[in-house]
């Protein structure tokens, strides 16, 4: 066996280290620009957000180096321990006084810690350990079978793995922190890669499409051309689904062998019934159950309401900031909207950090940043796939999923493609907890990856 120290760094993926420092460095200079205060111009001034972010970077690097010197076996061995510690913290945080309406923070002086950020690490480690140590596909006792529809067996899900996800997710929802809660759905990607939830992903995509269409036409009505009959939007969708099913019926009849047809017919009828129920469910949920402000957020993304100075204030200012950047941008420190002093774009150093960047660096900058994150995510998939250790692969996919969701929702929100959900852009947004939790995930991944050959020996 080689010397542990040697192995830690011999196979270290230095390109990942470079990306880390690139993103963190760009992030801090961007925060510096977005909150620049002439009275506190120093980069390291601890009153400023960039100063604090550098401190958080220092702490994160310390944690990262510590991780690099840990033994891989230690990480694997105590994976469940990490998990339980984060669960305890999530329970404990519910007994703190609320800040901005949510019990999400442990305050330490001027700094605050969000246990929800660390719960992601705990879940990732625990999930990796559980899925890598059991042959779940064969241990029937612990599975639930999804066979909602006659004819289609969805798949079997390992119950403990689901509970592992659901418990912290519900605790986070209780804070409430809807943003981080949504991040937990990223673990579906992991389950998918590991052989579960195959059709669920497809099912989810179709469901999202139907849901969006339903929401768009929910309050509207239309006339059938030629006939003087007025129909609601919902009826229109149901009619479309029926028409689609009839087309599929004829397709099946003309293509598929007669003996293979019956199960497909059953699946078709079942899907149609489920889809119609789903449409009604969404429609009723939207118009009867959702609170008005929740409806507004959805309507804003769907473009059903336009209220640039009221309900759509945040997103309108964010889009104006990004759009006004043009091709080349306004130049560093020259943002006129996404800037603390101008204050047009809210939370421009945290949730809307992408605005400052895109306003100052234009399309060149925003495209570059999208490229960097895309490269990082693909690189993570490559890293995951080159592992021979199941634990490392599963953990790598957890990290990939978390980063992917943060990137997708944070940027999507700023450019008006996703509802406003307050979650940070990894390594870019100001915030100590997210900086540390992303760093820990990242360095554990680096450590595990650096030892990908050790595992074999």
């Amino acid at each position: 066996m080689r010397n542990q120290n040697d192995s830690s760094f011999a196979d270290l993926d230095w390109s990942m280290v470079i990306i880390y420092f690139l993103l963190v460095g760009l992030g801090i200079t961007n925060i510096y620009s977005s909150v620049y205060d002439p009275e506190h111009p120093a980069l390291f001034d601890q009153i400023t957000q960039h100063g604090k972010q550098i401190t958080w970077l220092g702490i994160s690097l310390f944690l990262g180096i510590t991780i690099m010197f840990l033994e891989t076996s230690f990480i694997k061995k105590y994976a469940y321990w990490f998990y339980w510690v984060t669960i305890v913290l999530l329970v404990a945080v519910l007994f703190t006084p609320p800040v901005n309406g949510a019990r999400a923070w442990f305050g330490i002086g001027a700094f605050g810690i969000q246990p929800a950020e660390f719960a992601k690490i705990g879940v990732a480690l625990a999930l990796a350990k559980y899925l890598s140590t059991t042959d779940h596909l064969r241990s029937r006792g612990l599975q639930i079978k999804f066979s909602l529809l006659p004819g289609i067996t969805f798949t079997r899900m390992p119950l403990p793995a689901l509970l592992m996800l659901i418990i912290p997710a519900l605790l986070i929802l209780a804070q409430p922190d809807a943003g981080t809660f949504i991040i937990f759905t990223s673990f579906i990607l992991v389950l998918y890669r590991e052989g579960y939830a195959g059709n669920i992903l497809l099912f989810l995509i179709i469901a999202v499409i139907i849901a969006v269409i339903t929401l768009v036409v929910a309050d509207s009505s239309f006339m059938i051309p030629g006939l003087k009959i007025k129909l609601s939007g919902k009826t229109g969708i149901v009619l479309s689904l029926v028409t689609l099913s009839i087309i599929f019926y004829f397709l099946i009849r003309s293509v598929v062998l007669p003996r293979n047809r019956p199960p497909l017919y059953r699946a078709l009828i079942g899907s149609l019934i489920v889809a119609v129920i789903f449409v009604n469910f969404i429609e009723i949920g939207y118009s009867k159950i959702l609170m008005s402000h929740q409806k507004e957020r959805i309507d804003l993304v769907l473009g059903k309401i336009d209220d640039p100075d009221g309900k759509g204030y945040n997103i309108n200012r964010a889009k104006a900031a990004i759009g006004s950047g043009g091709f080349f941008g306004k130049g560093y420190m020259k943002a006129t909207l996404a800037n603390e002093n101008q204050g047009h774009v809210p939370m421009q150093s945290t949730d809307f950090i992408f605005c400052t960047w895109s306003e100052e660096w234009g399309f060149i900058g925003s495209f570059s940043l999208v490229l960097i994150y895309t490269f990082l995510l693909i690189k993570m998939i490559v890293i995951a796939e080159r592992q021979r250790s199941d634990f490392t692969r599963i953990f790598a996919y957890c990290v990939t999923g978390i980063f992917f969701y943060h990137f997708m929702i944070n940027v999507g929100m700023a450019i008006g493609l996703a509802p406003v959900i307050g979650i940070p852009l990894p390594f870019f947004s100001y915030g100590g907890s997210s900086m540390m939790s992303f760093s820990i995930l990242y360095f554990i991944l680096l450590k595990l990856d650096a030892e990908r050959k050790v595992v074999l020996q």
Partner: protein, 625 residues
């Protein structure tokens, strides 16, 4: 697990798909679609207009007629003013609660973060009471604006007023933006572009609550405001104010011109009003009160009313007859009342006599000679030729023509020509007997008071005039060249002597019709006029009390002032208009009034027509003095 390996491609594909969607979206937002750039400019940039100070207007003695005073607008930022005590604020600002609520709602609707007007145009004296209390109302603050002030409180008709531009103004001239003020009448309107200057623009960046944070691009696109030019008028404010005082409780107008320059010394229209009424936040209220007044105080009679000139017109008839050679200064005509009514007086033995006694048959006779010069054996054809000769002469005195007065809304008089009568009575369907009323200033001929004041100035100058004008200097520069050129009538200067002599005798000789215009120290030359007039009431023409008219200039040899006084429905010209004119002349030349009895008589007279001035119906019969 082999079969699951392909799933890595699905995941990678999802990542790439999301990135592709983001890239396309970003490219569209940042490069193709300009909507967000406009939106960003709207949000983050603020244009601050600096309004230049409007030019000051001085009178001929450098007294300020119009200057500027700082008024205050109170503005409110709804978000900051959420918890203010509205009850006490309403009391402080002296507005109604409904109005306050209305304004606040409008402000909120416009923007919660940006200021909107709450109360505008608060005069400085009222604001000094409000200012110390304002600290109690966060979100309410004042901005200064300059408005016009008319320190002499006179000359409303001359100076005009200002109010906010309307959609029409903005369409006509793209300089104006909603909320700007524009000169509406008089000098304010005519010299709008000189007085207003050029506004300056500064571009700022503003933050989310609308506070300016820095100059946009270091002021690269800013422009400086150009101050409006000050102008000096030929008007004499003391004469103007005195005229308005004398004209109180009378309808009509006075126009006084300096014959040697054409400068208008005074232009009084009565009833007048204090020009300061049409400044500030009571403008609309006061305007509608003035507008509803049946005596039409907003109507500028001096510039826009056309009247029959009555006997003052005879001066022109005499001059034309002399120039045409149809009479000599010594021509005599009997006072034949069979032709046209007259009063009892000795026979006029000369033109001078005729002017002095205002003999109607005399002027009937000489005008007939002008119209019928025997150029055609046919009387009708002869009249047609003569009428145009007459018409051209009268127009050469400026009547019915463009006098190039620097004043908006001027009317022109009317001098009928052959074509006009052809339309009225068919060609060759008329001759002098049809239209004889013109000879004594009745009939179809109409004049404005500026035109007639100019006629008096022509006589004072013995044959020429300068276009009447208000402007004297524009910031040290002389009035435009057009006002320095002499304009000659078609009557040679030699023919003016007998007329001037007659006008002197009007005032100074026992039988003269205008003896009330006599002044001990100044040789006043004048001519009375008494114009019959009719008013249509319920579709029936009623004869009204005559208009009382007087034209005069003084002193007889180096004339300093030419004046035309027109008092509606006040009776004989010598009774009211003549003494009023003499008071004006004395005031202008000597600066004081020697005969206070005369002055008090005029000041105390109430000549505003009422029901008793509608005379009982009778056969219209021309009588004129």
């Amino acid at each position: 697990m082999k079969n699951m390996d392909n799933r890595k491609y699905v995941i990678a594909l999802m990542v790439l798909l999301v990135s592709l969607i983001f890239t396309v979206r970003l490219f569209y937002m940042q490069v193709i679609d300009d909507k967000w750039k406009d939106r960003a400019a709207e949000i983050s940039e603020n244009k601050v207009i600096t309004q230049p100070a409007r030019g000051v207007v001085y009178d001929r003695n450098n007294e300020k007629l119009i200057s500027n005073v700082v008024y205050y607008d109170l503005r409110v930022v709804p978000n900051q003013a959420r918890n203010i005590d509205s009850v006490s604020l309403v009391k402080l600002l002296d507005i109604s609660m409904e109005e306050y609520v209305k304004k606040m709602n409008a402000a909120r609707k416009y923007s919660k973060r940006k200021p909107s007007d709450l109360v505008t145009q608060i005069p400085p004296d009222e604001f000094s009471l409000i200012a110390p209390e304002l600290y109690k109302y966060p979100g309410v603050f004042e901005i200064e604006r300059t408005l016009r002030v008319y320190p002499k409180k006179c000359g409303a008709h001359v100076l005009g007023y200002m109010n906010e531009v309307n959609a029409n103004d903005i369409e006509k001239n793209n300089y104006y933006k909603s909320g700007d003020f524009i000169g509406r009448m008089g000098i304010e309107r005519y010299y709008e572009e000189v007085l207003r200057g050029q506004r300056g623009v500064k571009y700022y960046l503003q933050n989310a609550i609308g506070v300016e944070t820095e100059r946009y691009e270091n002021g690269k696109y800013d422009t400086l405001a150009v101050q409006g030019k000050s102008i000096t008028l030929g008007l004499d404010w003391e004469l103007q104010a005195y005229g308005e005082r004398l004209m109180q409780n009378k309808l009509g107008c006075v126009v006084a011109i300096e014959p040697s320059s054409g400068e208008i010394l005074a232009m009084v229209s009565s009833p007048a009003y204090d020009p300061n009424l049409l400044v500030g936040r009571r403008l609309g209220e006061n305007y509608s009160i003035l507008e509803k007044d049946t005596l039409l105080p907003l109507f500028n009679r001096a510039a826009s009313a056309t009247y029959p000139p009555g006997s003052t017109f005879k001066l022109i008839m005499a001059l034309v007859a002399l120039q045409e050679g149809v009479i000599t200064p010594e021509s005599s005509f009997p006072c034949n009342k069979g032709l046209v009514g007259c009063h009892n007086h000795p026979t006029a033995g000369s033109v001078s006599d005729a002017v002095k006694m205002s003999c109607n048959p005399y002027f009937y006779a000489i005008t007939k000679r002008i119209i019928h010069q025997g150029k055609s054996p046919n009387g009708f054809k002869d009249a047609a030729i003569g009428q145009d000769i007459w018409h051209d002469y009268v127009e050469s005195f400026g009547i019915g023509t463009d006098l190039h007065v620097d004043f908006p809304g001027l009317s022109r008089g009317f001098v009928p020509n052959t074509a006009f009568y052809n339309d009225l009575y068919n060609q060759f369907g008329w001759q002098f007997e049809t239209i004889y009323s013109n000879s004594i200033g009745q009939g179809e001929v109409l004049v404005t008071s500026i035109e007639m004041a100019n006629v008096v100035a022509i006589i004072a100058n013995r044959g020429y005039y300068y276009y009447p004008h208000f402007i004297r200097e524009i910031e040290g520069q002389k009035a435009p060249e057009i006002y320095h050129q002499k304009n000659y009538t078609k009557v040679d200067s030699q023919w003016f002597a007998p007329i001037v002599d007659g006008m002197w005798r009007v005032v100074h000789e026992p039988n003269g019709t205008g003896s009330r215009a006599r002044l001990d120290s100044i040789a006043v030359c004048g001519k009375t006029g008494t114009a019959e007039n009719f008013k249509r009431i319920n579709g029936v023409n009623h004869q009204m009390t005559d208009h009382s008219i007087f034209s005069a200039f003084a002193p007889m040899d180096k004339p300093q002032i030419a004046i035309y006084v027109y008092l509606e429905n006040s009776g004989f010209g010598g009774t009211w208009a003549a003494p009023l004119a003499s008071l004006m002349i004395e005031k202008y030349i000597t600066g004081e009034i020697s005969d206070t009895t005369k002055e008090n008589r005029i000041l105390n007279a109430n000549l505003i027509p009422d029901a008793s001035d509608i005379l009982p119906p009778k056969q219209p019969k021309k009588r004129n003095r």
